[in-house]
């Protein structure tokens, strides 16, 4: 064959391959239905691939995947909306003290911010999802007719008895969620028994399997094992192995490999830092700067803390009382009142910061 014939043949083969290759990037969306996403509450948020927004619904014991369709790459380097809680309340026809902004995340593709909001504070509060674009324009992400998928999160163990009306008062409160490698991890704790669960839900959501749940434990000084609910967590690779860094409600910051999440096993986090009393971490992100990875955490009473992950792989757990309390960290003094935190891009984080008057601003800050 002549050279040009070979080239034509090669082009034909490539063209043919492109035609028949499955649109694998979109196959998870083709499994979605279009219709009403019947959220009963809108809590923690996390972005998955291609503009899919995962929403934790504690009241409905469900996990939703919403196709935001927001897949156009954005190049903005900052965002700023003053008094965003007042603006959101005004759009929802109420006052700022009658809404709760539950979570804020940034779409890594477009840089648009998304908020989950409770309109009202009683049990009948209406869940709302809002988009804030980089120009500061706020719009509703309508749930009335949207491409979405839903996974039920089993609320009660099989041994539960219900009262005569079949109601259970038990609620699994979802504290955080994250998408990692084809799975959505959901952390929660019960409003009755003192138990913490971490559920791993494969995405795309399967028809029946609601994922595996494992109990998370903590071993204080390698001696006292207790259930340990997780407040917030972030996926992180340690020496090329996927891990979770998790902040327990009882204050230790721990790591454990994702491979530990096997049903029926006890997952014991390895303590990497003891965050101490009066500590209430709300969000955690990981970012790189100058060749080192850092954890950035906003804290109810301590402001924003920055921790280096150097040596994190060396931590086998704080076994002795006399051990130095883990990873070193510093507090960023001028960042107070940060209610929400998420990555914006490689150089910035997006925060929701509240002042004494209660007014909340959405803005970007340089990663410290």
């Amino acid at each position: 064959m002549t050279f040009s014939a070979i080239r034509l043949g090669a082009i034909a083969v490539v063209a043919f391959a492109l035609l028949v290759a499955p649109a694998s990037a979109d196959h998870h969306k083709s499994a979605m239905k279009t219709g009403k996403a019947d959220l009963q509450s809108a809590g923690p948020l996390s972005f998955g691939p291609e503009g899919i927004l995962f929403v934790g619904d504690s009241a409905g014991a469900a996990l939703f995947a919403i196709d935001t369709g927001d897949t156009k790459a954005g190049s903005a380097s900052s965002v700023s909306v003053k008094g965003i809680n007042e603006k959101v309340a005004a759009m929802l026809g109420t006052s700022a003290d009658q809404i709760i902004i539950e979570d804020m995340v940034i779409n890594p593709i477009s840089k648009n911010a998304y908020l989950s909001v409770s309109r009202g504070k009683g049990p009948d509060a209406m869940p709302v999802l809002l988009k804030v674009d980089v120009a500061g324009k706020i719009s509703e992400v309508s749930l009335a007719n949207v491409k979405h998928a839903k996974a039920a999160l089993p609320n009660a163990p099989a041994a539960d008895a219900k009262d005569r009306r079949g109601r259970s008062l038990r609620v699994q409160a979802i504290t955080d969620l994250a998408y990692v490698d084809g799975k959505v991890l959901v952390a929660g704790l019960s409003n009755e028994e003192f138990a913490s669960t971490l559920r791993s839900v494969p995405y795309p959501f399967g028809a029946i399997d609601a994922g595996t749940g494992v109990e998370i434990f903590h071993g204080a000084h390698g001696r006292f094992e207790t259930n340990a609910p997780v407040r917030t967590f972030v996926p992180y690779e340690i020496q090329a192995e996927p891990h979770l860094l998790a902040a327990y409600t009882c204050t230790p910051l721990v790591k454990f490999p994702l491979s530990d999440l096997k049903p029926g096993t006890k997952v014991m986090g390895t303590t990497i830092a003891e965050l101490g009393n009066r500590n209430r971490p709300l969000d955690m992100i990981v970012y790189g700067k100058g060749g080192t990875d850092y954890i950035l955490m906003n804290n109810s009473s301590r402001g924003v803390m920055k921790m280096s992950t150097e040596e994190i792989h060396k931590y086998g757990g704080i076994k002795e009382k006399t051990d130095v309390a883990g990873l070193p960290y510093e507090t960023i003094a001028d960042l107070k009142g940060v209610q929400q935190l998420d990555r914006f891009d490689d150089n910035s984080a997006a925060i929701l910061v509240q002042d004494e008057s209660g007014s909340m601003d959405l803005k970007t800050i340089a990663l410290p």
Partner: protein, 390 residues
Amino acid sequence: MTHPGQPTVIRLPRLPHLVMRSDAYRWIPFLLTLFSTLGVASADSVTVDMEKAGEHYVFRLAPFATKPLPPDEAMRVYVAAGSSTAADLPPLLGSYGIDGNVLTFTPRFPLRPGTTYRVAYRAGTASDPNERTFVVPEADVRPPTVVKEIYPMTDLLPENQLKFYLHFSAPMSRGEAYMRVHLVDESGKRIALPFLELDQELWDPSGRRLTIFFDPARVKRGLLPHEEAGVPIEDGKSYTLVVEKEWSDARGKPLQAGFKKTFRVGPADREPPSVQDWTVTAPKADSRDPVIVEFPESLDEALLQRLVRIVTAATREQIAGDILIDRNETRWRFTPDAPWHAGRYVVEVGTVLEDLAGNTLERPFEVDVFERVEERVARETETLVFVVAP
């Protein structure tokens, strides 16, 4: 067609001809009146109202014609705010509908009782917007909300008490829990941060029951806060759990009154409860007497409601009936809907049932792995058999 100077003859003028003549100005008052019926006039002739459409309020503007103003320039609704930044606040989300010459704005969310809304509206592009405010009436007056009870009911708690359940007579608002509940010592001094504070707050679906955990970081041994701040409540002392009156219920109203629970503290309880220590008093056949299960210590009220049931021994079929828990949660009584048949029955208990310190039937709250721990097969339920005899 008329000529200047002649008496006015009312005939519909043809516009183009009218505009060409400079003496058309004398027609202006007439035209204004005429055009107002077509909806193109000063704002004075356009009215807005707030009305009920079914269960919810909507806003209506009439008369309205699609030209020259699009709906969202003809009428916008805002929350009336007192502050000077009100001008920056966006209008309500909602949708517009046109029916004849009536423009309707339906808010996306139901208007909130007791709230004032401001409608900015105008009739034409040239006219300035007018404003009108409306107040949504308060909902029907219901009796104020109160704290009904706090579990555990006992006034002697172990030092490692795990939680409280607060029961309210009506749904409550989220967002204030840890501001409204305090623990004070014998001298009236507040204990700093005794509880686990979660943004989500742990309410039941009806919003009438709140679970508050003592801070596990202080209760659990071996953790820094336990070392530094110590346990929240100490053996030998007395404390009062104080609920503030100012706590908003779901309607935004405060409680009728505050609530106090005073209690003494005994030593920590590290023993898992065991059904072997329970007594079961069987009822008689053909009666609807309750089966009575009693335990030597108070157990967790919510878990007793949920995790204990009566089934037949033969088929494990659940018996329908009502549960009553009393005597400081040391007694569980079950009254069947239908009279008992003679036979063997089983009290089935989920093993995550806790005592007041969070020890379960399976294991203590804190498992000390340095001590010899007998390996037990983890079971989901424990059972007690009783016989209903004639």
